[in-house]
């Protein structure tokens, strides 16, 4: 039965990686097979679903969907562009910084959906090739998202699973290494693309004349909506002190947002990406099947044998395994499967370093290939729709070297500061 569980799970991962069907169909199909074949029974399947993760994701989807019509995100991206004064290197750093910060406090997929369309507009106005700018933003979104509990789905999964890890813990332990990595990767990308990024002075003057606040002034409920958005982010910082889980913060924030910024609840709830939530449900049940069949404890035992109980070796193996797994499939299912493995490895003792290793590996690994993170798929999809195709190899040529650089930085950080 355990071999069957592995076949179903690995088959589902392969099907997701090769895009044989929509990932939600694959995850739900795999989960249904595991339940119908008795790999996991119905009661345990329901217990395996991590409801705080679903609550956090749904809450953030509603908050961002209702904030977006204010034009605040367009304003931020345009102001950053104006600050660059047409200097392409400054533009690269500013776009990377804005994307990284938005990703940290919204989530990387949402940030990409918000900022990439504006980047296409900016590239058009400045007559710059859009693909390098968007690729820089994709990498920045995955690195920036690493900095917080809500920034990237792997962190949401980890933070929702281990209540010992607060929002502030994520920031204290992951934000510094993320900022350093973002700076290094942005610098390298600016070097790589410097030849193709040249702005005519009259184009820069064109951008300087734009009034980025105009949409913001004309939108409805701007002050109230932004107050709820900022209030929710502040509440994330304080959730541990006030004894409230991050999922509750997101769901309460979403509820308040529905009161202040939505005239039509059905329309607002229609913006929730139900297919993403059901994708997570399918993954949780499949991983529950692996746990039930003892596959997870077998993997954990093998890893423990390999590392001979050394916490540093365990952390580095988790880091690089999570990165490789995320690059090959998708960092969401891979992290879902790795979480019970890390639980088993640490046994009764709680070691936060192993969780930071998992977060860094899965989030940074998300930059390696076009399929490694949902943000990559979303960004290249927008590029495709606007006539700018990015092939798997073109993404890999940028993503893989930058991932390796990021992992080297993460390795140094873990060895020096965590173990």
């Amino acid at each position: 039965m355990s071999a069957l569980a592995v076949v179903i799970f690995v088959g589902a991962l392969a099907a997701i990686a090769f895009d044989w069907a929509h990932r939600t169909k694959i995850a739900l199909g795999g989960a249904a097979l595991m339940v119908l074949l008795g790999i996991i029974d119905q009661e345990h399947a329901v217990e395996a679903i991590d409801w705080p993760t679903l609550g956090l994701l749904a809450g953030m989807m509603i908050i961002v969907a209702l904030s977006e019509p204010t034009g605040i995100f367009t304003y931020i991206a345009l102001r950053a562009t104006q600050l660059s004064r047409g200097n392409p290197i400054a533009l690269v750093f500013l776009l990377a910084f804005v994307t990284g910060v938005l990703s940290a406090f919204l989530d990387n997929l949402t940030s990409i959906l918000l900022v990439v369309p504006i980047t296409l507009l900016i590239a058009d106005l400045l007559r710059l090739p859009p693909i390098p700018l968007v690729l820089i933003q994709v990498l920045a979104s995955n690195i920036g998202g690493t900095a917080t509990l809500i920034g990237d789905p792997p962190n949401i999964l980890i933070g929702s699973h281990r209540s010992e890890l607060s929002f502030m813990d994520f920031i204290v332990n992951l934000a510094p290494v993320s900022i350093v990595t973002l700076g290094v990767v942005s610098g390298l990308l600016a070097l790589v693309y410097r030849a193709s990024l040249h702005v005519e002075p009259e184009r820069a003057a064109e951008i300087a004349r734009l009034d980025p606040a105009r949409d913001l002034r004309e939108a409805k409920n701007v002050k109230r909506t932004l107050a709820v958005l900022v209030g929710t982010i502040v509440a994330f910082f304080a959730h541990s002190a006030i004894g409230v889980e991050p999922a509750v913060v997101a769901l309460v924030g979403a509820t308040v947002m529905l009161f202040v910024a939505s005239d039509d609840v059905d329309e607002a709830l229609g913006r929730v990406q139900w297919s993403t939530l059901l994708f997570f449900v399918g993954l949780f049940v499949m991983v529950g099947g692996l746990v039930e069949q003892g596959v997870v404890s077998d993997v954990a035992e093998r890893l423990a044998t390999l590392t001979e109980g050394s916490p540093t070796a365990e952390g580095l193996v988790i880091l690089w395994t999570a990165a490789a797994g995320s690059a090959l499939v998708d960092n969401i299912p891979f992290t879902t499967a790795m979480i019970p493995v890390v639980d088993e490895i640490q046994g009764g003792e709680f070691d936060d370093g192993l969780w930071w290793a998992l977060a860094l590996g899965a989030c940074f690994g998300g930059n390696a290939t076009i399929i490694a993170a949902a943000a990559n798929v979303a960004a290249t999809g927008i590029l495709d729709r606007t006539g700018n195709h990015v092939s798997f190899l073109r993404f890999l040529a940028v993503g893989l070297p930058m991932t390796l650089v990021s992992l080297v930085i993460a390795t140094a950080y873990l060895v020096l500061f965590q173990f």
């Binding site: 977006e68 369309p117 296409l120 058009d124």
Partner: protein, 148 residues
């Protein structure tokens, strides 16, 4: 009453026509879409108002939600319009289902609802007969109701 008895508009362009020519024909016609015809006079696709909109303005507009800060004097807007005006309309035409001249009005109404199109080409065999718009279809129904 079949569709051949409803007022159809002879609004079409050859697929080699330029975007500028097709846009001018569309502007002058009383339907929101043109049939794009191949060498043999068969319907190769349609070129509707939304297609000319997407051709003349930048493609990223479909992705962005906030553009009030942009001015009509923005150089890249003129460049986009210049870059498409002499290109053949077939590059921007879309395949679309056709209605037959002997189809019923209720069938046409059902297809309008489900295809989301505002006008569809009507054919007799392989020959293009004319464009049927929602307005023409509904006008014919209301006239019929009054006569009866």
């Amino acid at each position: 009453m079949p569709l051949r008895d409803v007022q159809l508009v002879d609004a079409s362009v050859p697929e080699t026509a330029t975007v500028a020519e097709a846009a001018a024909t569309l502007f002058a016609a009383s339907v929101p879409a043109l049939a794009v015809l191949d060498d043999g006079g068969r319907v190769a696709g349609i070129f509707a108002e939304e297609d000319v909109l997407k051709a003349v303005f930048p493609r990223y507009l479909a992705e962005v939600r906030h553009t009030a800060f942009l001015s009509d004097d923005t150089p890249s807007l003129d460049e986009q319009a210049r870059s498409v005006r002499d290109r053949p309309v077939r590059e921007f035409a879309r395949p679309v289902e056709t209605l037959r001249a002997d189809d019923s009005q209720v069938h046409a109404a059902e297809r309008f609802i489900h295809t989301g199109q505002d006008a569809l080409p009507v054919v007799d065999g392989e020959s293009f007969v004319g464009m049927l718009s929602i307005a023409a279809l509904c006008h014919a129904r209301l006239e019929r109701a009054q006569e009866r």
